[in-house]
Structure formats: C-alpha cells, structure tokens
Amino acid sequence: MFGSRNPQLNSNDELIHLLSMEGLPAAVIQHILDTAGTFLSVNDRDVKKVPLLRGKSIFNLFFENSTRTRTTFEIAAKRLSADVINLDIARSSTAKGESLLDTIANLSAMHADMFVVRHSESGAPYLIAKHCAPHVHVVNAGDGRHSHPTQGLLDMYTIRHYKKDFRQLVVAIVGDIVHSRVARSDIHALAILGAPEIRAVGPKTLVPGDLKEMGVRVCHDMAEGVRDADVIIMLRLQNERMSGAMLPSAAEFFKTFGLTAEKLALAKPDAIVMHPGPINRGVEIESAVADGRQSVILPQVTFGIAVRMAVMSIIAGNAA
C-alpha cells in the first residue's frame, strides 16, 4: 500500500498522518504510548482540557457508521480544545453523487486542519492524505478490512500498561480474523514491538492463510490457541460483514471458540482479556469472563481516549 516511502512520516521520520501500523518505527509507536500516558492524567484535573489544538478544526468524516469510535475521537479532540465537526457523510453529499476527493476539497475550503476518516473501502484514508493540502493531517479511524491503527495503538497501550515488556509475551487473537482490521493492526504493532509469539485463533473460514507469512502462528483449536497465553484479544463476530456460510451458527461458534472461564483457565493465571467492543455476550465471550477480574475491556475504552489525544496532538505538531 506504500509507495517508495511511508506517506505517514515526514523526512525526519516524524508522524504527520496515522494511516496504518505498517511501517511505523517502534520509536514512533513508543512515543505515542508515552504521550498517551501523559494525557491520561488530564482526567484527574479540575480543568479536563489542554489547549494544544485550540483554534484547530477537526472534521470527523464517517462514511461508515460507528457512533462509538466517532464519539471517542470527538472526546479526544475536545479535550485538546479543538473544534469538532461531525459529518454524517453516508447520508449527505456522497449520496448525491459527489466524489470523495470533491468532498475533501470542499471541506478543505472550510479550513479543516485534520480529517478523521472511517470508510468501508480499504485505502480511502491514503487517497485523502495524498490529495489534501500539506498542512492537513489525516487519521484513519478504520478502512475496510485493512487497518484500524488507533485501536491497534490503544491495544498496545493496554498490553504495555498491564504487561510492561512485549518481548516476553504470548498474545492470542481469537475469532473473526479475516474480516478484522483490528486484528491486522494488532499483529503489525505486536511484531514491530517485538512480541515473540502471536497466535491467530479461529475456524479455517475466519483465519486467513497468509498470516503464517507474517510470522503468526495459526491455530484452529481453541485450547491450543489460548494455552499459556499472556494476553487474549477476543474479536467481535462481525455478523454484518458475514455473507454466505462461513459459520454454521453463532451458538456453534460460541461452543468452539467463545471464551469461557474454562478455556481462560488454560492461559497463564495472570492473563488479561481484551476486546475492542462492542461485545456480543454469549457469542464470542461469556459474561462471567467479560465482567471477570482478568477482563480489561473497560480500561481499554479509557486508554483509547488518551491514545487518540496523543495521536492527534503529535501529528498536528509535525510539519509535512
């Protein structure tokens, strides 16, 4: 997806857009995670806002609906004092036939400083980053099956928070991996940060074969997949993306790959359980596990805002 050089970085290897985890230097990722740690403390202040992006306009362009992701970006931008404009593109200009780049040109004429883009087509944020004015920054909030880098980063923040060092960890990613941009972002990030064992766990229909080439251990058996894991990342079964007979039924999936207390007991005793949300109780995860002591699903949400603040403030401070 890249040309000769990574379009996310300027000539000093500083982040100017966040489009994907692919090709990000480990130092850039660690800097984002460190900065997120600093922003986490903003929640403890009387004034839960810092003025770093005062006077900047951030446009949330959600070509695909996602109230939750859009809201976390909106909260993050507002805590940085930016003005946030939410555009429900799915129901406006593109429905009238305007092209993506015409939409961007129009919004740029309204003096946008940053676009947060969610799109069903892989690569749409790249196209926007390539064609927008040099002072405009782009954040990918999920494109097709390709990438969801802020989710990948908040997952890395969560893992680092509880496990400190990536270089000892066994991480199991379980479920609908073929449709999951989160899985792809997590796998790239874990590899960059040096996690020695990444497992992709799920039925043959939902785990793509090319993962082995990325150094991932593919497991079609749940017990083998979670045994001795330090981190278990459960993915949502994406019913709305599922067409045809990839799965017999949700109940069948839960029986084989759903995370229950019994299966969790095979992992290390201090293993953490993550999930990008929204969770389907009784489909990919049992309620007792989702609400249990090893679950860090809600801290992930809190960390997600700090991570998005870090990403937006870092790219806004770097010139193309």
């Binding site: 500083e14 900065t35 600093t38 403390s41 202040r45 004034v47 810092v50 003025p51 403030s313």
Partner: protein, 171 residues
C-alpha cells in the same frame, strides 16, 4: 584550534552546587505558612526534591510540566516529558515555583497556566538558580541565586550525575 587557554565562558563560572546552597536560603525566606514547592520539569524537579529534604518539609513536592501550554507547540510539536504531578490541593495555596534557569519567561507563563488547570492558588512566586537576561514577558523571579548575562543563542541547563550532583551544561 589554538593552544592558548580559552577565556572561561560566563556559564563555566556557574558552580551549581554552590548556587544551590544560596537557593536553600532564598527559598526558606519565600516559604510562607502553608506554602508548597513545585519544581518545573526537569531541572526544577531535581531542585525541589533536594529542597524538600534540606528544608525538612513534610510530604512530597510537586512537579510541573510546561508541555500542554507551550506557545511553540505548532513549531516544535509535543516533546517527551513527564506529566505534571501535584500531590496536594492547589486551590488557595501559596505556591513557590522552582526552576534552574529563568530566560525568556515563556516556560513560566506556560506552567502558570498549567497550575491554574488544577485550581486557583493564593499566590505564585518563583525562585531560580540562575536568572539570565533576555526576558520576553513581564515575569520576574522573587529569588535568584545569581544573575548573569549571556549571548542570546547560548542555552544553559542543569544536569545531574549518578551521584545526584548538579552542574550546568551549555549547548
């Protein structure tokens, strides 16, 4: 390069440890009842750590970072920094800010804004090891262990070795 010894630059005459002893006396005079020390990251944070001990003050000193309020954010971006830690109420307190060097005054402006994100202090004063010329804002130190003049391009900052001893560095 000439073999003749170069004249000592003004900064070379700065003995950080000797200045620190003067700072202890200066800060003692500034401390009112209920006052707390807040060191500006990073040099000032080292100073308050020692001052807290040497002045036998109870509790932990505060550490404050200018990062979120800097006026050169658009140019320099977000530099790596420790977060602000203020282990006490700011509302209604007398605050003594401590820093290594007072130069343009822009860092002080930023940390005063940062301080106000935590509450409304009764008063804020400033004590520094070195006050140099070059102020760009109406900001002054209540106490400076020494005052010097330096070329505008010369940057000095405090460094700390493994044994905890302080010295000045120049860039």
């Amino acid at each position: 390069m000439s073999d003749a010894p170069k004249p000592a630059a003004p900064f070379a005459r700065l003995d950080a440890e000797a200045l620190y002893l003067k700072l202890v006396d200066g800060v003692r005079d500034l401390l009112k009842r209920d006052a707390v020390l807040v060191g500006i990251w990073s040099g000032g944070a080292w100073l308050v750590e020692r001052l807290q001990r040497d002045l036998e003050l109870a509790g932990e000193p505060g550490v404050i970072s200018s990062a979120f309020h800097r006026d050169d954010f658009a140019r320099r971006g977000l530099a790596g920094t420790d977060p602000t830690r203020l282990p006490f109420e700011i509302e209604g307190r007398h605050i003594v800010l401590v820093d290594d060097v007072l130069f343009t005054g822009r860092t002080i402006r930023a940390v005063v804004n940062e301080l106000y994100d935590f509450g409304r202090p009764s008063s804020v004063s400033l004590a520094v090891l070195v006050e140099r010329d070059g102020r760009e804002l109406p900001i002054a130190a209540a106490f400076a262990a020494t005052r010097i003049e330096l070329p505008a391009a010369e940057r000095i900052s405090l460094a700390r070795d493994e044994a905890g001893r302080l010295r000045f560095e120049t860039k």
